[in-house]
Symmetry: C2
Subunit: 186 residues, 2 copies
DNA sequence: GGCAAACATGTAATTAATTACATGTTTGAA
DNA sequence: TTCAAACATGTAATTAATTACATGTTTGCC
């Protein structure tokens, strides 16, 4: 008789697919994954190590990934995770499957705007100015990332999706800034 | 000696401020609030009644709102909630306070794109087409909402923020659709 | 050699949010 | 008059995610 074991992963857990995708690029540790969420995909998704480590265990339990124990130096233990065929198939299925939902865009500034009733509310212009600076800074940051990541133009060819989403984010911020400018007083 | 009572509301609970803002527009019931999240602000924030009712209790406990019991017909009980001065001040403070954080945009399609490595991946074009249709539909929906909500041009004057965020959402969808079109094969 | 930053892995507590469960009333149309 | 849709209010269970707690190793610079 076996112990009760429940490894069913909730229905809308997107983080697991991102992890599958990252492990498909190359086997790596939980620590490496956590760093990836601060760097290359940090603009698009965030996850802390405290969410990653338990999820890796669940995913291994579900048979989607496996790990190999390694040691750096004398005794620093590492767990190098990689996809199983099942995990790879799960990733392929996820990417292929439709994404028919619109993303709820939970922008706090937009929410606050809703409660500004008139164009002459004294809070409006400072709010617009603050957001203008914020999104301008983000735009510059994204443009610089594109320059560094895709400095070598051939990089686009084998990281096309990454290029597309950076391009998309840059377009989005460009128009956000333009939209704000339109309502900013000189 | 009093019982332990803990009414501190967690630090990033934005829903409470939306409720304060809605109750400031007019006193209403939890049911009315839940409907508002399906209609006028549904494009910008969502909340189910199962989240609203307990929160209303916590907010009343915290002294931000009060309710009045009414009865419709013979015995259908309703709780009409309204702001206290404390609650009103909390709303004003929230709107006035800076919003210096960028919203993480957790768009599943964008995530999937990241794992498309080459421009000739056969999944790319269908994905772009699907999103094109989705965002085109959303754009039309938003445009129609603007026409109905702001049919009377004087409405803009006393619901300026609402006008701005609808305008912003329309701009965003317009450029999203344009961006997709740019990468769609004919 | 000392020391800080980065490497590396975990758990606990709490909050936000969704889905499902649960119950009853009123309105309005067929 | 019957019946469905809308009105109205709750709780329970579960999941996703963040913050805080907790511990130890290695690298590289001064």
């Amino acid at each position: 008789m076996r112990l009760k074991e429940l490894t069913i992963i909730g229905q809308r857990n997107r983080l697991q697919y991102i992890i599958l995708g990252l492990l498909n690029q190359q086997p790596q540790t939980g620590y490496d994954l956590a760093k990836a969420f601060e760097n290359e995909i940090g603009e698009f998704w965030q996850a802390q190590h405290s969410q990653i480590y338990p999820l890796l265990k669940r995913m291994e339990n579900a048979g989607d990934i496996t790990h190999e124990d390694t040691v750096t130096g004398e005794k620093l233990a590492k767990k190098q995770y990689k996809l199983t065929p099942t995990g790879y198939q799960k990733l392929v299925d996820w990417v292929s499957e439709p994404s028919p939902e619109l993303t709820p865009n939970k922008d706090e500034f937009i929410l606050k705007l809703y409660f500004i009733k008139t164009a002459d509310d004294p809070r409006l212009q400072p709010m617009l100015r603050e957001q203008y600076q914020l999104h301008q800074a983000q735009l510059h940051h994204l443009q610089q990332r594109r320059e560094t990541v895709f400095a070598d133009s051939t990089t686009v060819d084998h990281a096309y999706g990454h290029y597309l989403i950076l391009d998309h984010a840059i377009e989005r911020e460009t128009h956000y800034v333009e939209w704000l400018a339109q309502y900013l007083n000189p």
